[in-house]
Amino acid sequence: MKNYVIVGNGVAAVGCIEGIRSVDSTGAITVVSEENSPAYCRPLISYYLEKKTTLEKMPYRPADFYEKNGCTVLYGQKAEKIDADTQTVLLSGGAALPYTSVCVATGSSPFVPPFAGLERVKNKFSFMTVEDTLALEKALSPNANVFIVGAGLIGLKCAEGIAKRVKSVTVCDLADRVLSSILDGECAALMQTQLEENGIAFMLGDTAVAFTENSATMKSGKKVEFDILVLAVGVRANTALVKEAGGEVNRGVVVDTSMKTSLPSVYAAGDCAEGYDLSLGARRVLAILPNAYMQGFTAGVNMAGGKKAFDNAIPMNSIGFFGLHAMTAGTYEGTMVEEKTENSLKRFFIKDDRLSGFILIGHCERVGILTSLIREKTPLSSVDFDLLTKVSTSLAFNPEVRKKKFGTTV
């Protein structure tokens, strides 16, 4: 009987379990979970603060998931070392878990730059886990002024989540725009206006250089007073286990399309992994939930002796603030085609007759039709792309393609 070990207990781990069980219904699965709870939906922590979900609704799978899948979950345990020669995972408590194959699904950790005086700030928080969220929630009060360092996805979702529960929220970022990893200047400006209209203040192109207990001195020389500090500068993939075992690590753990690392019988998936991005034509860390699940599932199938490649991963983000939605996908390379209406801005990036990426603000109907053009590398000359820039509709495909889409089992 095979011994599967999964290090980590997030969405990639769940994908891995389901992948293993799609091939092997009997092998032993052991999950090493640092957090003391079943896998939960990490992106929901801001929705929790906004009271759009509850802790009870946050588990990723039903309560009997691990039992039904015959998994042993070791809660509150940390994997210290992978010994690739003896095929063993060593745990913090001293135990050793032998494996036939192991999946490293260790996720990422907040990156905190060495700010001067940061240790003097008592009310400081990261925003990654339920534990972080509950600690932050305890500190919230209607009189509190909150300062968030980082105007990326995490920092801004945090800002939205707490906006109505505190007196003020100010967000700074070294970048000159919000959501700089997924939006270009004009699109970012639209989202920034939306956030400002809902009470969020910004200090962009500026960052904190030093802290006292309740204030920050900015690079520009400005001073910010705060009661609560949230650090959302960025995240780093947790790669140490593989690196120390001698495996190839770049920004993330390097994996091929079967999720194999450079070490025998060691796989990696999720935010800790650096896999192939079809839209870029190269490897990069794609720290998004769908990718974590699909990488995990792929790893699981291959660990159990099946054969599966995940070769059409692309960056994709659907993110809304106070009712205005941004949807983005792919890489922003090539010629830009723009379509503007009163309430929306769409930008498409086209290269070699293929859609390489898009940014859509305020348009969120049937967008998956556009995403599929990137993932399937559809030649744009084979569709009515002019129509698609205006409305996302399957009318843009030729009748034979539609017949297959809607008249056959897919």
Binding site: G15, P290, M316, S318, M327, V367, G368, P399, K405, F406
Partner: protein
Amino acid sequence: MKRVYVNEAWCLGCHLCEYNCAFANSHLPDMVTALKGKTIFPRIHVEGEDKISFAVSCRHCSDPICVKSCIAGAISTQNGVVRIDENKCVGCLTCVLVCPYGALALGEKGVMQKCELCVENGGEPACVKGCPNRAIVYEERG
């Protein structure tokens, strides 16, 4: 498994399927109470124009990308039917971003809704039953 299939050559573009769907899922006793003067949120919609029209609803994919992408764990496959737990959905629209068929849309509660083949409504899907030209069928195919 039986699924809903659409033959666009037969679709008249009459939009009756949208009304029948909204009515069936309202769980109200008559169509007037359910729909009159209201904005409807059907789980099937007609796309196209004068010459070409076709109805689109969930394909109940054998390998559904919406299930894998849902950030709230709200979408699952149950006995082949792709279903959504409206209590868990937070309306992030990631499923809209990934569904290649454009089959999911926001419902009136601000969370997603999708075709569940009328499993809770009993019998044949309402869109199929009410299609005047038999353009929408419910059957087993390959």
